[in-house]
Each structure stands twice: as C-alpha cells, then as structure tokens.
Amino acid sequence: MLQIENLHATVGGKEILKGLTLTVSAGEVHAIMGPNGAGKSTLSYVLGGRPGYEVTQGSATLDGQDLLALEPHERAAAGLFLGFQYPVEIPGVSFVQFLREAANAQRKQRGEEPLSGGEFLKLAKEKAALLRLDMDMLKRPVNVGFSGGEKKRAEMVQMGILDPSFAVLDETDSGLDIDALRVVGEGINAIMRKPDKAVLLITHYQRLLDYVKPDAVHVLAGGRIVKSGGPELALELEEQGYEAVA
C-alpha cells in the first residue's frame, strides 16, 4: 500500500531523512519509534508535502501512485491523512465549515457527488460520538480554545469523516490522559482497522500500542530505519531505551 524507497529529504538545507525505506501493506498498522530529532515528524511532513520539506532522492508511492508528484491537497484526495502532532488553530473558520469544505473538495477531486448539509452533519455527529467529542465543539472555530486532548480527538473525528485509506499519525498520543488515550486508540481501530486501509503510527511511547496493536515496529534513528521487528520490539525499547536496542 505505502512504499517508501531510499527517501532523502532536507529541511532548511539540512538533510534529515537519509535513505529511509519502508513498506506498509493494506490491513496493517506499523509503529515508528525513535529518539527526538530522528526525523519522525519530518517523515510525516514529507509524505504530506509540507512546503519547506524537500525530497532530494528516493520515492514514496501510495497504491502505486507517486505521492511526491502530487500537491498536498491532491495527496489527501488520493487517500492520505496526516494526524498532526500540533493541530493548527484557525480562528474564524468553524470545524463544520472546514470539514465539509474538505470532504467535498476530496469528493470533487475523485469525481464523486458532494455531500449535502444534512448528510454531512449526520456523518460528523456519528464520528464525534465515536470519539466522545461534544458535537457543539465542532461548531466552534477549528481547534481554537481546545485542550491538547480535545485537539487530538478532533483530529480523529476528522479522520473518521474524511475516511482515508492511509493515515500517518504523528504523536497522536501526546497530550492525552489515560481515558482519552483509550478513546483515541479505539477510534483509530474503528476507523482504520480494515482490510483495505493501513496506518503508520509515529510515537514515543508503548502505551498507545496497548490499544492499537501494531503488526510491525520500526526504529527510526539518524534519518533511516535502523531496526524492525514485531510488537515485542516496542516493549524492548520501552525497557532498555533506543541506544541499547538500536
């Protein structure tokens, strides 16, 4: 499903990704762990196409489609979803307005009919309930005045509404208390644990993996994958640290 080959990328002229290779198949959840500065967030931004993150070598494809040749909004329509570590506040634009615009923009790019106001609200209500986020919060400006945990749950509501085929979730577990962590974990499973979907979870900690069981765990250090293994690798990392394991 997602295939990354020998990916090199620079930020501000500095090389951060140095030959990253990774394959995630449909139906799988892969976790990427690694120390600060290893390039975890850079990987998510490069896949999303954030301006300023320049690919100098290598390739990344989603279902055979060259992601790097697409504009960021086209990548979303192609099925990619980026869960932000720090979701962005947009004063003056309500979540409902923002998400309906986004959902219909994606549908339009895929040649599908737009959702009516009623259809969209029904979908939004269903996903908000799944993540236990009060529907009234979606009438407020995007992420403005949301707590850290509410922002992360709102990210998952967005994922539920946009229904991507591949999600890159960048430290979705940071800023969550134990209860919110469980709700978010169950949300990820409900939305993305399907045979035709896959997830790349970027995380520092084992605890989210208690709820979202990974099929594979990779250690990212120095801009490349230095070790891969099964779920037990995450436990090993948690106990012994990155330096001992990788």
Binding site: G48, G49, R50, P51, E71, P72, H73, R75, A76, A77, F81, L82, F84, P87, V88, E89, I90, P91, G92, V93, Q97, F98, L99, E101, A102, A103, A105, Q106, Q109, P141, Q158, L162
Partner: protein, 252 residues
C-alpha cells in the same frame, strides 16, 4: 479640520501615504468637499460605503455628528484600483457611540485608504476595526485619529488594524494617533501586518482543500472581524461575500 488644507500634498501628515501625483492634479473643490450627516440624539443609524475597482481615483469625505446617546455604525469596503480615500470625521456627543468596520482589498497599483478622526464628548465610546488584504504592488492604509478633549471623562475608544500581504511587493501602512487630554478614559489601538498563515494553509491542504479555496476561507475569516458588530447574520454574510468578490483577481 481640513478646510485650511485646500490642496493637500503628501507633506501633510494626514496625506502622507496618498498618491501625490494624483493629488497635484486633483480638483480642489472635490478634495475639500465634505458630505454631512446628522444622527439625532438617541437614534441608531447605519451607513455603508463601497468603492469598486472600476471607479477612478477619488476622495470621499463624510462628516457625521452623532447626538447624545445616539449610535452610528459605518461599514466600508474600499476595493479601488487606483488612489481611493474614504475619510470619516466623527463628532460624538455625550454617551454617543461610533462603530466602524472597514475592509480594504487591492491588487495591481491600487492605493486605498481609510482615514478616520473621532472626537469624543464625555462617556462617548467608539470601536474601529479595519482589515486590509493586499496583493500585486498595492498599498492599503489606515490612518485613525482618536481625540479625547480635557473634559471628556469616561470615554472608551478602541481601534484595531490588521493587514495581510498575499505577495511580496504589496504593502500596508498604519498610522494610529491618540490625542488624549482627559485622565479617566480607556483608549486602545493595535496594528499588525503579516502574511497569510502558511501553517493554517498547509493544515487545510492536508485535509484536501485546494490552495485557492484555503486562501478564500482564511481571508474570509480575517476580514470577518470587520463585520462582527453586524448583528444581522444575512447582512453580515452579504457584506463578506461582496468583499470576497474583489479577491477574485488576486494571484497566489
């Protein structure tokens, strides 16, 4: 106030950002002409002004006298393509209120201004919000003067100007002036000039919203500040859509 300046030049402080070449050739009668408006004591009135791109260079000057405990609201969209100046001279009697919502949108060689002078009697209040969106080589200016004479206690006056520059080459100028002689008053002003929020634009793109649509949403939210005080929702949306209509020519 300005009758003495029968023929202003850019050496005059109040005209420092004007188009000097046009001023030199302009008809002095038109330049010194003021429209007059009276709001009777206790009444509430609302005014709208629109300058469209096809209009030539011009100066519109309006003097409003707002009676005791009356309220005057003025909303202006200046989308002129050349030199266009919308000027308001407001005198507030005791307990009167003045509300201004202004939007400047311009590209190309546009030089658009909103200029205000508000004189406050005791207990008078005023609130001015102006937003400018510039592209091309255009210039958006807000010159706002707040006057609070010696005996005008309990005045509350605020003005806020923000500009977004969509392209390098566009610019904006803010010239707040506070002349305060009373001691028991509140007066606030703020000004900020910046680019469109690229982080927000990428966040929107990551959800599938194309750059033009993202820019439109962000600009809509930005200029909406100027119309927050319009209580009637439909009227507020109309004003926003009208203003956004002039954004179509903007390049990104």
């Amino acid at each position: 106030m300005s009758e003495a300046l029968a023929h202003p030049t850019t050496h005059d402080e109040a005209w420092r950002y004007a188009d000097g070449d046009w001023l030199a050739k302009a008809d002095p009668v038109q330049l010194s002409h003021w429209h007059e408006h009276e709001v009777p004591a206790g009444e509430t009135e609302r005014g709208f002004a629109l300058v469209e791109p096809h209009e030539g260079s011009k100066v519109d000057r309006l003097r409003v006298h707002v009676g005791a405990h009356a309220r005057y609201e003025h909303f202006v969209i200046n989308a002129g393509a050349l030199y266009t100046r919308c000027e308001l001279d407001v005198v507030l009697e005791q307990g009167a209120h003045f509300e201004l919502g202004g939007v400047i949108l311009g590209g190309g060689e546009a030089r658009a201004e909103i200029v205000t002078r508000v004189v406050h009697a005791p207990e008078a209040t005023s609130n001015q919000v102006v937003r400018a969106v510039q592209w091309g080589r255009s210039v958006g200016n807000f010159l706002g003067r707040i006057e609070i004479p010696r005996d005008s206690q309990q005045v509350d006056a605020a003005q806020n100007f923000k500009a977004i520059l969509l392209e390098a080459g566009a610019s904006a100028n803010a010239k707040p002036e506070l002349e305060i002689y009373a001691d028991d008053v509140k007066a606030a002003h703020g000004a900020a000039i910046g680019a469109l929020d690229q982080t927000a634009a990428f966040y929107m793109a990551s959800r599938g919203i194309a750059p033009e649509a993202a820019r439109r949403l962000l600009v809509r939210a930005f200029i909406a500040d100027a119309f927050v005080s319009v209580k009637h929702e439909e009227m507020r949306d109309d004003l926003l859509e009208q203003a956004l209509h002039y954004l179509e020519g903007a390049a990104l």
